[in-house]
Symmetry: C2
Amino acid sequence: MLNFEFQLPTRMIYGKEKHKEIGQILKPLASKILLHYGSNSIKKSGVYDEIIASLEENDIKFVELGGVMPNPRLTKVYEGIELCKKENIELVLAVGGGSVIDSSKAIAMGAYYEGDIWEVFEQGKAIEKALPVVTVLTIPASGSESSRGSLIRNEEKNKKLGYINSMLRPQISIINPELFFTLPKNQVANGVSDMMSHIFERYFTNTEHTDVVDGLCEATLKAIMKNGLIVYNDNCNLDAWFELGLGGTLAHNNMLGIGRQQDWACHDIEQELSGIYDLPHGAALAAITPSWMEYVYKDNINMFVQFAVNVMGVEGGYRDPEYIIKEGISRLRDFYNKLNLPSNLTELGVKNDSNLELVANMARGVGSLKKLDEKDVLEILKMSIGN
Amino acid sequence: MLNFEFQLPTRMIYGKEKHKEIGQILKPLASKILLHYGSNSIKKSGVYDEIIASLEENDIKFVELGGVMPNPRLTKVYEGIELCKKENIELVLAVGGGSVIDSSKAIAMGAYYEGDIWEVFEQGKAIEKALPVVTVLTIPASGSESSRGSLIRNEEKNKKLGYINSMLRPQISIINPELFFTLPKNQVANGVSDMMSHIFERYFTNTEHTDVVDGLCEATLKAIMKNGLIVYNDNCNLDAWFELGLGGTLAHNNMLGIGRQQDWACHDIEQELSGIYDLPHGAALAAITPSWMEYVYKDNINMFVQFAVNVMGVEGGYRDPEYIIKEGISRLRDFYNKLNLPSNLTELGVKNDSNLELVANMARGVGSLKKLDEKDVLEILKMSIGN
């Protein structure tokens, strides 16, 4: 295990009906807030009205900004920052999934930043201050509800960049699994894939003596897969959504990444690819991950045998490690298939053209279990294309 | 799963040599502290000198109070409170294990409390304020380094009482596994037993749909058992101590107890017993736990089969559940034996006399998987006596 620090300061509130208490919960923190959300689905589901009612009941003034898109756009962030400055906003309330939360975080730091907030993403600049962010989660997947990160897409530059800072960690997050009931099937599948990937990126490591955290990763992965399949086929299953809501948070609050080198190759490759193609994040990860595994497993046979046996349920024992690993990867592909996730990037419209070389060049140097050079990334992309 | 809230605000710092940075770490928090510790072992090991050096280097003034005993005494708490008031102490630094940390927490709240601090324990009174507590852990077991609780023994009244309040949670805890190298074998064994029990108390539940947290409990238990045995036989194994340091914290920061009813019967019985007999906590738990399991398993056969199979490695399948459970409990006894923990309370000097009835009376109503009345507790105690 490596030295590490660890702290989970976000107050996580899990439970039915809990979003209806939002006004009460925010009252000690702010008197005027920005209410930030994505599509109109929160209006259709009634969540919007319930939140407004609770805010009004508690005399909390609010300014609204909806319309956040997947791969949240920088232009929307600019809009939010302007609103915050003009309206003297004291807190950003994100009602949505990872995109809305990431957008809220970017707005929260932009509200105090003098220059162009994109500089902070581009140059990894230090920030001094950010507005508090509180979230009501409507899509469990990104883990952004308790993480320190924000990922924003600059649509002009075709570039998606992340920024990490403790000040971006939400103060409070409310998770009511009932709000997940109306999610369309493809979003459920993408979410499950994203959660799994957040764990894979931490789990696959060359760091040794990592018994405790290995076990936590394996247990959380298995619970996510089991319950992911349940809600995919029965989207009003409260118990399974409860498990998935918790699993999604654990997958990305870095509890499962402590004391070990983390990999992040698949996420980094997907991020570069998404800058160009604007892909559904979880679906793209499902298309890339098995190819990444096939390409890198020889660098740490033990780790991949452990994955196949402890997570994918392959019988271990004295059989050929390569057989065990390939069976594990094949079962992972089968699992993705059950959620109708793409088996390759072609299904997502990615072509075997010069863009791949561009992505390979930008993503060179990613990974840690195996550090990938430009040629490695290109090879993984071609395998993921499936031609 | 039940509704829950969750937050881990303690900043946990894990790593070699980290205690030598204590002065630097405390500098932003306080200019005058109470240095609270137990026996002279921190002087023999050199930890005391290293901490003093770091405090002096960073111009932090300190007042010392050593001599905390296992089952920390109220009289020592009074002494600490008086010192804090007289010397205008701003922070309590606990250098030790659970007893020192629990004593520090009681002192920290006593420093601001007008009346007798024992009232707070006896009446579960609300407190308004407490000094910040920072810990340097020298014995991993109690989990007190990140918990909200303090357990104090009133030696005059032969009574051990606990108190839980968020304000008691340490602000920062430093865990350097090298400091555990000098622990005597029996303390290692007691610590492992205590950690395991902290998980058992949360794991065994009638709450259903608890996949994620069940898995986390099982993974942490297995890692604690594996590494506990390693350090018991090789007390300078840094890697295994690292795992155990982390396992001990996870076992009791309530991450493994979220969303479920918890039991706590064994701890509650042990606490009443220890008020009279002043027992080594972990050893007493090892003597009580298997008997508790044998007495209550029929109330939740599925849970105990799951334990036997997923934690103790008993083959599941189509075999008789009772056989599987008994084999699981028997393997747990074998494990305790490997650590030379007592197989019954007689080995700890507890007699089958009227004291048992006193304890059974005081502990009546404990438990949740099976709520235990006076007769149940007495029966478990007699089974634990081993006669």
